[in-house]
């Protein structure tokens, strides 16, 4: 605290003049005394300190669980819960997970299912997003409501009938079954998001295209879609992340070690029968790292995308 309060004294003397140092002696005095002199947008050192303290605390809480997961993944089983940062550092857990379990199969299953789902969802829903954004047509209102309500669907309402249908057509334990299931989530979501993005593209662009003799489809395909690429990327990213992290359907529809996705596979390490925390942490890190990298790449667009989607809904 003492060092914090000396810094302001120097700074406040500048604008405040020679009278300030006496006032700035105490930290409280430093803040209230300097307040009037501070230019707009600046803040007192105490506020700065508090700001950093708050942000640091937040960052610590945010980072610690994944950090601890990472640290633990390098420890042997006996040290899984030791409090030291490293204990018998080794890559044994990773070797075991990759070589001795079906981890890579799970990874492949997840990747296949999620990529196909995302691609199909974006492909199917982009024209709908455009139509909802640009045209007023009979049925539009009900379609909007349908999309909105479908997004609210708890998995509980569809999981039983979907399970029974999948079972009837032999799609349980098949990637196709899960792709179809995930499309029930991804399609309404993507259509809704895309509408938000198309809303941000000025209608004047469409109009100029129409004046030049393009059909509505031509306008969409040649003019608007290229402009909407960032929006499409964000939408695809969202549906990718959603499907990648889905647990309920994956748990219910997939059984048998070779058929699982990552969400199901990770559960096999720690359950009623096994407590292989050391392997679980290694697998968890292997799942989290690619996801975090994709996320890191896309997060620059996140904020723009979110507000576009949110305010326009």
């Amino acid at each position: 605290m003492a060092t914090q309060s000396t810094v302001p004294a120097d700074r406040t003397t500048g604008p405040a003049g020679s009278a300030a140092p006496a006032v700035a002696a105490g930290p409280a005095g430093g803040v209230s005394g300097g307040k009037r002199q501070r230019r707009r947008g600046e803040r007192g050192p105490l506020a700065s300190f508090g700001l950093h303290l708050g942000l640091l605390a937040g960052a610590f809480v945010a980072l610690f669980p994944p950090f601890w997961l990472l640290v633990t993944s390098f420890k042997p089983r006996s040290e899984s819960f030791s409090l030291s940062l490293t204990a018998d550092f080794s890559f044994d857990n990773y070797q075991y997970v990759i070589n001795e379990t079906a981890f890579l199969t799970w990874f492949g299953n997840s990747l296949l299912i999620v990529v196909v789902t995302t691609f199909l969802a974006v492909f199917i829903s982009s024209t709908t997003g455009y139509a909802l954004s640009r045209f007023r047509f009979p049925g539009m209102r009900s379609l909007m409501w349908t999309l909105l309500i479908t997004q609210m669907f708890p998995m509980a309402v569809l999981i039983v009938p979907l399970y029974n249908l999948m079972s009837r057509y032999g799609l349980l334990n098949q990637p196709v079954g899960l792709i179809v299931t995930y499309l029930t989530i991804a399609v309404p979501f993507c259509a809704w998001m895309m509408k938000g993005f198309f809303d941000t593209i000025p209608v004047s662009i469409d109009e100029s295209g129409r004046v030049d003799g393009l059909s509505p489809f031509g306008t969409y395909w040649r003019l608007v879609l290229p402009l909407a690429k960032p929006g499409i990327a964000v939408t695809a990213f969202y549906s990718f992340v959603t499907a990648w992290a889905e647990v309920a359907y994956a748990t219910a529809f997939l059984t048998g070690e070779q058929n699982l996705t990552l969400a199901g596979g990770l559960q096999t390490f720690v359950n009623q029968h096994t407590q292989d925390w050391h392997h679980m942490t290694a697998a968890a890190v292997l799942i989290a790292v690619p996801a975090a990298l994709v996320f890191g790449y896309a997060q620059r667009h996140l904020q723009a995308g979110l507000t576009a989607g949110a305010t326009k809904s």
Binding site: W68, L69, T127, P138, V187, P188
Partner: protein, 354 residues
């Protein structure tokens, strides 16, 4: 024109159908349409005129309408039907080897609904689900808005803080939940080690009913803050700086500025985000399923995890009961969304105009 009339009609049918009606309504409307030669010029002319002006819009929405009709509408109708039957593990259609055993469940009318609504179990779960949803959303919103306010200033290391704070979002939730399970571990988790190091007694984080509830809420808040933070940051940045300047000229205090400029400024985004995160939290399956498994003795089970358990973990697997829970959950959510929108509109929010 001829080749597109098919899908566009389907689109019109599905589009105008009430969401819950799904397929049947669509069938009804497409039925007469393809023939096109039915006498009585009224509806046909109207349809033709509609086609002439709106066919491109209908063609554009056709893929989504078809897909939703088939993979959402059809299961939904079947699910609704199941709620009026006594379907369970022993009597649904199933395959054993190459043999298919036909479904033998029977229509029981509203019996499932009567059972669920008159028993206390559903209401117990509903109360906890509401407590869970409200606490999660309120805490997440407050923390998210606070952190967004802190990040929305000139602060050294801003981008680093931002990356650190949204990291929980970057990691798949089911991975993070397992990380938390390690931290919460009663015998040797680091949280208890820290408590004991500080001279306090260890907690039964996941095995005491009360602390298990606190634990699942904490994890869900941890998972939810990044989304709230980013959404709120976007909203804060859309507030024109001139408003703050003017307020400051007029001598408004920091608190007054927050109350009179910031809060109204983030209102419309907040309204949407709170609605979304309420629905997500209400339906939040992985946190509870993976962290506590609903335990101890079902005390942390929310409606969706309980519905899941009815169909997939209890024996015999009660498909009809689970579907009934699912339908009731959906009705609750729709009611909530309607009330929420109406409340917003009464406060003069024009955005929900459609």
């Amino acid at each position: 024109m001829a080749d597109v009339s098919g899908p566009s009609k389907a689109a019109a049918g599905g589009g105008t159908a009430a969401p819950a009606a799904g397929l049947p309504a669509e069938r009804k409307e497409t039925g007469p349409a393809p023939t096109g030669s039915r006498p009585g010029p009224g509806p046909v002319t109207r349809l033709r005129r509609g086609l002439a002006t709106h066919w491109y819009a209908w063609v554009m929405v056709a893929p989504v309408v078809t897909v939703i009709g088939v993979i959402v509408g059809w299961p939904l109708v079947r699910g609704l039907y199941l709620t009026f039957t006594d379907a369970d593990e022993s009597n649904v259609e199933r395959r054993i080897g190459v043999n298919t055993i036909d479904a033998s469940y029977e229509f029981v009318g509203l019996q499932n609904y009567v059972d669920v609504l008159t028993g206390g179990h559903f209401w117990d779960k509903l109360v906890w689900t509401v407590v869970w949803t409200v606490s999660c959303v309120v805490i997440t919103f407050v923390i998210g808005l606070t952190l967004a306010n802190m990040l929305n200033r000139k602060v050294r290391g801003r981008s680093l803080y931002r990356i650190a704070l949204i990291l929980p979002w970057a990691i798949p939730a089911f991975v993070s939940v397992f990380a938390w399970r390690m931290l919460y571990n009663e015998r040797s988790g680091i949280l208890n080690a820290a408590l004991e190091g500080g001279g306090l007694s260890a907690m039964s984080w996941l095995t005491d009913p009360f602390w298990a509830k606190v634990s699942v809420i904490a994890v869900n808040v941890w998972l939810g803050v990044p989304f709230m933070l980013i959404a709120m940051l976007g909203a804060l940045q859309s507030i024109p700086a001139e408003q703050y300047e003017a307020a400051e000229m007029d001598g408004a205090t920091a608190w007054q500025r927050f109350w009179n400029i910031t809060l109204p400024g983030v209102r419309s985004v907040s309204a949407t985000v709170v609605l979304l995160s309420s629905i997500w939290t209400f339906n939040m399956f992985p946190v509870i399923f993976l962290l506590t498994g609903g335990g101890p003795v079902g005390s942390t089970d929310i409606l969706v995890t309980e519905a899941f358990k009815l169909a997939f973990q209890r024996s015999p697997r009660d498909f009809a009961g689970s579907a009934t829970w699912g339908v009731l959950i959906l009705i609750l959510l729709i009611l909530f969304a309607l009330v929420y929108r109406r409340a917003l509109r009464q406060q003069g929010d024009k955005e929900g105009a459609w």
